[in-house]
C-alpha cells in the first residue's frame, strides 16, 4: 500500500513540475514574441519616416537622385523581407542609405537649418535608437528562451510540446549603431552591443 502511495506522490510531483516548466516556457516565448513585435513597430515607423525625409531633402538637393533611389529600394526590400536574418540584412541597407542621405544633408546649410528637417532628424534618431533597444530586448529574451529549451530537464517539456528555438536579430558590426545625426553625440557611440 505504501509503495502505491509513493508512486502516486512521485507522479503528482512530476506532473506539477511539468506544468511549471511548461508555463515558464510559454512566458519566455511570449516575451520573445513581444520583443519581436516591438522591433516590427519601430521598423515600420522608420519605413514611414523615409519618404518624408527623402521629400524634404529633395526640396534642397534635387540632384542627389541616385541616393534617393538607393534608399527607396532598400526600403521596399526591407518591407518584403521574411525571417529575422533576411530582415536584419535589409535593415542594414536602409541604415547605410540613411547615413549617406544625412551626410549629404550636411552640405546644405539651408536644409540643415529647416525646422522640418530638424524634426525629422530627431524622429529618425529616436527611431534608430528604439530599434536598437528593441533588438537588445528581443535578443535577450531569445537567449533566455533558447537556453531554457536546450537545457535539461526543461528540454524534455520543450521537445514534447514543440517549443522552437528562435533566431537572434543580428546586425553586422559595420552597420551597428544609430545613424550619426545628432551632433551632440559626437563620440560615435553604439548604444547596444548584443
Amino acid at each position: 500500500m505504501l509503495a502505491v502511495w509513493i508512486v502516486v506522490g512521485v507522479v503528482v510531483l512530476l506532473g506539477l513540475w511539468a506544468v511549471y516548466a511548461y508555463n515558464r516556457l510559454v512566458t519566455y516565448r511570449n516575451r520573445a514574441e513581444e520583443g519581436w513585435s516591438q522591433i516590427d513597430v519601430q521598423l515600420r515607423r522608420r519605413y514611414d519616416l523615409i519618404p518624408n525625409l527623402v521629400e524634404t531633402v529633395k526640396g534642397y538637393a534635387a540632384h542627389e537622385r541616385e541616393l534617393f533611389e538607393e534608399v527607396a529600394q532598400a526600403r521596399s526590400a526591407a518591407i518584403g523581407a521574411t525571417g529575422a536574418a533576411e530582415q536584419a540584412s535589409a535593415e542594414n541597407a536602409i541604415t547605410s542609405g540613411l547615413r549617406k542621405l544625412l551626410a549629404v544633408a550636411e552640405n546644405y546649410p539651408d536644409l540643415k537649418a529647416s525646422e522640418n528637417f530638424l524634426a525629422l532628424q530627431e524622429e529618425l534618431t529616436g527611431t534608430e535608437s528604439k530599434i536598437a533597444y528593441a533588438r537588445q530586448y528581443y535578443n535577450e529574451q531569445v537567449r533566455l528562451l533558447n537556453t531554457r529549451i536546450q537545457s535539461f530537464p526543461s528540454s524534455a517539456i520543450a521537445g514534447a510540446f514543440h517549443f522552437e528555438r528562435r533566431e537572434f536579430f543580428d546586425i553586422e558590426d559595420a552597420a551597428r549603431g544609430p545613424v550619426q545625426v545628432d551632433l551632440g553625440r559626437g563620440d560615435g557611440r553604439t548604444p547596444t552591443g548584443s
Partner: protein, 305 residues
C-alpha cells in the same frame, strides 16, 4: 534581473510591515502618554498608517508630482525626451512611463508611481538644457531601473507612512511642551509595582518620541542609498554605455545651481540629493544623513564597470 525584482518585492513587504509596526509603536507611546492607555494609540496609528499606505499607493505619484510642480509634456513639446524615455522603456520591456518636466534650473530627475504600468518620469528643465542625448539616456536609464525594480513604490509609500509618524510625534512633542508636560498624564503616583511599570513605560515613551523623527529619517535613508548604486548599475545595463551616465553625473556634480524646491519628503526620490550645496565637500555626518551616496563615489563605481 527578475530575481532582483522578486527580492525587491520581498523587501517592499518587509518595509511595509516595519513601517506600520514603527508607526504602531509611536502610536502606543503617544496613546500611553496622553490618552491613558497605549492600545487606542496603536489602533489609531495603524489605521492611519493603513489609510495612508492605501492612498499613497493610488495617489502618491500625483502628490509627489504636484509638490514638485512637475508639468506633463507632450511628444511635440519635448520630442527628444519622449524618444529617449520610450527607447529605454522598450529596452526594459515595460510600457512607456508618462513624461514630466519640473521648472527648476538645477539638473535632476526622478521617477514615481506604483508599478511599471502606472509610472512617471520627471526631469528638470535644467537637466534638459545641459545634457546631450547620450547623457540623457544615462539619466533616464537610471530612472527606468527604479521603475523596473519597484523602487518607485517603496519610495513613495514608505516616505508617506513614516512621514506621518514623524509628523504625529512632532505634533505631540510640541503640545507636550506647550502644556508643560501634564497633558492627560496618568495619575500613577500610588507607588508599588504599577507605579514603577508606569514610570518605565513613561520613560520609554519619551525616548521613543525623541528618536522617532531620527529613526523615521534613517528608515527613509536605508530605503534609498543602496538602491542608487543598484539603479546606476542596472541603468547602464539598459543603455550599455556607462560613459553616458558618468558624463551626466559629472555635469550634475559641477552644476552651479541648487534646487529651490528642495524638500525633505521627496529628497530620496531624486537622481541626486536636491539639498546638496554645489561644490561643497561631504562630511561624515552628512554621509550618514544623506539620502544619496556621494556623487563622486557613484562616478568611481561606474568607472570600474
Amino acid at each position: 534581473m527578475h530575481e532582483q525584482i522578486a527580492a525587491n518585492k520581498r523587501k517592499t513587504v518587509l518595509l511595509f510591515v516595519l513601517a506600520i509596526a514603527f508607526t504602531g509603536l509611536v502610536g502606543f507611546a503617544i496613546g500611553f502618554l496622553f490618552f491613558n492607555g497605549g492600545v487606542a494609540g496603536v489602533v489609531i496609528a495603524v489605521a492611519l498608517a493603513a489609510i495612508l499606505s492605501i492612498s499613497s499607493y493610488f495617489a502618491g505619484d500625483r502628490l509627489v508630482l504636484a509638490s514638485t510642480r512637475a508639468r506633463e509634456v507632450t511628444p511635440q513639446e519635448e520630442p527628444r525626451l519622449h524618444n529617449v524615455v520610450e527607447g529605454l522603456a522598450i529596452a526594459a520591456g515595460i510600457p512607456k512611463p508618462r513624461v514630466y518636466v519640473v521648472p527648476e534650473q538645477a539638473p535632476n530627475a526622478f521617477a514615481t508611481g506604483r508599478n511599471p504600468e502606472h509610472s512617471s518620469v520627471a526631469v528638470t528643465q535644467g537637466l534638459l538644457d545641459i545634457m546631450n542625448r547620450v547623457e540623457l539616456e544615462g539619466v533616464i536609464g537610471h530612472e527606468m531601473s527604479h521603475v523596473l525594480d519597484r523602487d518607485i513604490l517603496i519610495g513613495t509609500v514608505v516616505a508617506t507612512v513614516v512621514g506621518a509618524a514623524v509628523l504625529m510625534s512632532e505634533f505631540f512633542m510640541r503640545s507636550w511642551f506647550w502644556s508643560g508636560g501634564r497633558m492627560g498624564r496618568r495619575d500613577g503616583g500610588g507607588g508599588g509595582d504599577a507605579g514603577l511599570v508606569a514610570l518605565v513605560l513613561f520613560a520609554v515613551g519619551i525616548v521613543l518620541l525623541i528618536i522617532a523623527p531620527i529613526a523615521g529619517q534613517l528608515i527613509k535613508l536605508s530605503v534609498s542609498r543602496n538602491r542608487e548604486y543598484l539603479a546606476d548599475a542596472q541603468g547602464v545595463l539598459l543603455t550599455r554605455y556607462p560613459p553616458g551616465l558618468i558624463a551626466a553625473l559629472e555635469k550634475i556634480r559641477d552644476a552651479p545651481h541648487a534646487m529651490r524646491a528642495a524638500n525633505n519628503a521627496t529628497a530620496h526620490l531624486w537622481l541626486d540629493q536636491p539639498s546638496r550645496v554645489p561644490g561643497d565637500e561631504t562630511s561624515t555626518m552628512e554621509k550618514l544623513f544623506s539620502t544619496h551616496p556621494p556623487i563622486q563615489d557613484r562616478i568611481d563605481r561606474l568607472r570600474e564597470m
